[in-house]
Structures are given as structure tokens and as C-alpha cells.
């Protein structure tokens, strides 16, 4: 049970590994992705990682399956599109609009969470599906705010600290940093009281209650965090592609984000990140087999749920555990041998 010191050391090691991984990832992508098109694929994958995190927060920690991610993503995207093109009156810069998304969607997601989470489990999930259908219908048909079927184009180029992000190459480091920072925040939530309380709600509500957890409000809070993350992803998507239209925010696309998180592992932040990448990048690599991709996802998900419900991250985790157990045995054997020597 010696621990205190070990945790700080372990944190430092973890941060070191993360830094090396991020830098390696940066150079790997920079060298491998030579065309703007491949860069776009990577950029979008980075944006999707935010939504995968949101699934990880709500489903992985809180045990509530929500399809509402796309509703908030669409909301964020359209809010940014409206603000930056001056459709609501004043024209704001993309960065300011993006920052505005956060408080606005804290309020919206909180209120919707308050309503939907009065329902439990499956009923809640179905209600979120209803929400997705409603928001799609509104985004697709209400012209004044959402441009109807044509969508909204003409979102100006984003400028950060005086640098214009002209193309997908310029966006890559910005999005990478954002994805890592948000990932760290999500990981931090997981290891602090909020994450533990959520996990308690997921595994045993009664136990959570007697440990002082307000189950309802904790879940509403998780729903809010997930909603804001999705809205941010939507805003970024609008900034990156400079065009928003309703057909990106359908029920079908919302299943994609859940597949990302499930594939990578809902219990793991890194897993969510990797899941977003696999689902986004693999179709490009395997474009020759495009017709079979849906089949491939389907089979992959079924196999993973049967053999490894914690996704790819779960596979890594269990391998690590096996390795550690083996090591421990070795150490124990060595110690036993040493004491035997001593006795002799």
C-alpha cells in the first residue's frame, strides 16, 4: 500500500509518454499525409475525437447511452455559421463565435438534460433518438436560421493570434492540441470525484446514493459536458469546412460516433481518440473495399462486444495486466529463491 510518492512519479511518467506520443503523432501525420485531402481526413478525425470523448463521458462513465451528440454538434455548427456570417445581425469572428458556443450550450444541454434524464436507461436513449429526429427536421427545414436543405456557406477563414488558418495543414496542429487538451480534461474528470460518482451511478445507483451522490444531477452534469463537447466539435467542423448543412446531423451519423467510442473502448479516453481515428481514417485506406465497410464495422463491433466489451483499449489493458502478473510471478520467484539462499 506504499503509494503517495508513486502516484506523483507515475503522473510524471504518464505525461512524458503522452508528450512523446503526441510529438511522434504530429511528425508521423506530417510526413505521411502529403495531400490536402488526407490532411482533411485527419483533421476531421481530430474533431470527431471530441464527440467520441463525449460518448465516453456519458456512456463510459455514466452508463447512459445518448444519441443526442449530433443534435448538439449541429447546434454548435449552425450557431457558429450564423454568428460568423452575420445572419443574426452582428458579424463575429470565428474564434469569438466558437468561444460563445461553450456558455450557450452549457445552458441548452443542461436544460435538455434536466428534461431527458427524468427518464431511465432505455427510455432515456429512445428520447435522445427522438431529439435527433426533431433537430434534424428543424435544421433541414427552417431556412431563416439553418439555411434549409442548402445549408449555410461562406463561413470566413479562422484567424488565431494573427495567423490565418488557410488550409487543412494549418488546422492540424491547432486541432491536435485541442483534442489532447480536451482529452486531458476528460481523463481528469474520470479520476476525480465527478468521474467516480458517475461510475457509481453506472454500476449501482443505490450504492451511489448512500455514498452521497445525487444521481440525477450528476447525470445531468455529465450530459451537459457531453453536449458542450459535441457542440464544440460542431463549431470546429464549421470553421474547418466553412460550410454547414443539416444532412451531417442525422441519426445515421450519430451511430457513427457511438461506434467510434465503442470500438476504441468507452472506458478509456485514449480509446475514444483511437476509435475516432480508426472509423474516420480506415475507410480512406480501404477505399477499394468501400462497399464492404459497413459489414466490416458491424462484424468488428459484434466481435468486440462478445470478446472484449471494453473495446481496443480493453485489449491493451488486459494484455498489460497479464504482463504485470507474469512479472510479479517472476519477482516473487526471485524473492523466494533469494530467501532460500539466505536460509542456506
Amino acid at each position: 500500500m506504499r503509494d503517495n510518492l508513486n502516484t506523483t512519479r507515475r503522473t510524471i511518467i504518464k505525461f512524458g509518454v503522452l508528450l512523446v506520443a503526441v510529438v511522434a503523432f504530429y511528425f508521423l501525420v506530417s510526413t505521411l499525409c502529403t495531400s490536402l485531402y488526407t490532411m482533411m481526413v485527419v483533421d476531421i478525425a481530430l474533431i470527431y475525437s471530441l464527440i467520441a470523448y463525449s460518448v465516453s463521458v456519458l456512456l463510459g462513465m455514466g452508463g447512459e447511452l445518448s444519441f443526442a451528440g449530433v443534435s448538439f454538434m449541429g447546434g454548435g455548427a449552425f450557431l457558429l455559421a450564423n454568428l460568423t456570417t452575420g445572419r443574426l445581425g452582428p458579424t463575429l469572428s470565428p474564434v469569438v463565435s466558437f468561444l460563445l458556443i461553450i456558455p450557450v450550450f452549457i445552458v441548452i444541454a443542461f436544460i435538455i438534460g434536466l428534461i431527458l434524464l427524468r427518464l431511465k436507461g432505455t427510455f432515456f436513449t429512445f428520447a435522445t433518438i427522438g431529439l435527433v429526429q426533431m433537430t434534424f427536421a428543424i435544421y433541414n427545414n427552417y431556412k431563416p436560421l439553418f439555411g434549409g436543405a442548402d445549408g449555410i456557406a461562406g463561413i470566413p477563414t479562422t484567424e488565431i493570434f494573427g495567423t490565418k488558418l488557410m488550409n487543412y495543414n494549418d488546422w492540424f496542429p491547432v486541432l491536435l492540441i485541442l483534442a489532447v487538451v480536451v482529452g486531458l480534461i476528460v481523463e481528469r474528470i474520470r479520476t476525480t470525484p465527478m468521474g467516480r460518482s458517475l461510475a457509481a451511478c453506472r454500476d449501482n445507483e443505490t450504492a451511489a446514493r448512500v455514498l452521497g451522490v445525487n444521481v440525477y444531477m450528476t447525470k445531468v452534469l455529465a450530459f451537459t459536458i457531453a453536449g458542450v463537447l459535441s457542440a464544440m466539435a460542431g463549431g470546429l467542423y464549421a470553421m474547418l469546412t466553412k460550410f454547414v448543412s443539416a444532412d451531417m446531423f442525422t441519426y445515421a451519423s450519430s451511430t457513427k460516433y457511438i461506434i467510434m467510442a465503442m470500438l476504441g473502448g468507452v472506458q478509456s479516453t485514449v480509446g475514444a481518440f483511437l476509435g475516432a481515428f480508426i472509423v474516420q481514417v480506415l475507410p480512406q485506406i480501404l477505399s477499394a473495399f468501400e462497399g464492404f465497410l459497413q459489414l466490416f464495422w458491424g462484424i468488428a463491433i459484434v466481435l468486440l462486444m462478445v470478446f472484449m466489451p471494453e473495446g481496443l483499449a480493453g485489449i491493451v489493458k488486459s494484455l498489460g495486466r497479464k504482463f504485470r502478473a507474469k512479472n510479479k510471478k517472476k519477482v516473487a520467484a526471485a524473492a523466494a529463491a533469494a530467501t532460500e539462499e539466505g536460509v542456506k
Binding site: P193, A200, Q267
Partner: protein, 256 residues
Amino acid sequence: MAENRTPILRLDKICKSFGGVVTAKDVTFCVYPGEIKGLIGPNGAGKTTMMNMISGIYTADSGDVYFNEKKITDKPDYARARMGIGRTFQTPRFLQRSSVRDNLMIGADLGNKIGYLSGFFGRKSTNFYQELKEMMDILHFSFNWDDDINSLPFGQRKLLEIVRSLLSHPKVILVDEPAAGLNNKEIEYLMDILRMAAKKMNIGVLVIEHSMDMIMDLCETIAVLNFGELIADGTPAEISNNTAVIEAYLGREDDD
């Protein structure tokens, strides 16, 4: 002696029925700080239901629960937990797929009264490790922080659930059948830690248990329920000589 002190927990004429089944009928008793009180009765007497009403999982049909002489009947379960009503279950309830550390930390979270936000920015729990070490010395076993909670044997998990509850610094702790599934050594350690909780931490302990030896040895006072009715409340000596109790409960035990 106990009557001069303020009870930490007082039940006043609690009634509860599920459909036609009466599980509590005008039940009135107290638990004092630093006292270990047994709650016994034949199967189906309404013991666990009583605990659920104290911790707020069920609400009583009528009657009131007082905590430190403050009425808490209308308070929700999590608010009661935050006031200092700890609880363990017949089968331990832990976070699944989680480490021992996370599972114990959640008890400390409650004790530290850290909000989600200040927890996020990292206010450290004060002497979590020190407290835990003292308890583990009493329980005579150790574990690896990062082990999955389910890799521990059942008995150790049951003891850890008590530890988790004690880490939340409760004023009163409700322990539901702690000895079921424990071996003799573990039962001894269990009694040690409950005594420590009462004497050193001045916690009022209410314990449901079927093992009469343990109840008689451990408890200062015992309340006996039968079909939802309180049929006796007194010291172990009084209880074991009470005819109503012998008829309802101990007598039947003697038969087999």
C-alpha cells in the same frame, strides 16, 4: 446511562407496508454515538427495510426519522449520506471494472465534502492513506491499489465496504449482515473494526446480523423486530431472557 445523551439516530413510530405486507409498525428506537446496537429478527421481520428507511432508499408511510434530533424524514437519500449516515449492504456494492483505489476514494470523497469542481482542480484528501492504514492494520490484510476490486475474495470485499463507509467519516453507520460469508478470523477482525468505529471514532453503529454469538458479544443494546413490530429493546442479557423474543426468534433457533 445512555438515556441522558442525545441519540444520533432516533426512529419515531415508523410505519411501512408494501401492499398488504406490513414491514414496519410503529417502530421506535434510538442509536447513541459510540454505541453498537444490534437489529435482529427472523427472516422477513423488516430489518433491511428499516435500514433502507433510515438511509432514505425507501420513505416511511408514516413516522419520522431524526438525525441528531433533526428531522430528516423528507430528506433524499444522498443528502442523508452527506449528513453522515453511512451504509453497507448484504452483498457488497462496488464500482465494477474499477480499481480498489477508486472504490475507496469514493468513500473519502464523501467524507471530504469536495465538490466536483474543486475536486477537478485537485484539492487533495487530507489523511486518507493514514486512516486507511490504521483500518487495514485492524483488518490484517493488504491489497494492491490497482487490482480490480473483483479480484479480491468476497470476505475482503465485504470488509472493504465497511472501510469505504468509515472513510466517509459518518456519524452513524448501518451495517447489513456483515458476517455472512466471512470466515472466523475475518469475523473477529470485523468485530474489531466495528468496535474501533464506535469507541475511537464515536460512531453510532447499527448492525443487522443472524449470528447470535456475534450479536451478543458485540452489541451494547439490541432491538428485536418480528413481522415489522418492535418486540424488545434492551441489553443482550435482557434480550436473551425476554419471553417474547425467545418465542419469536431464539426459540425457533433452538429447535433445529
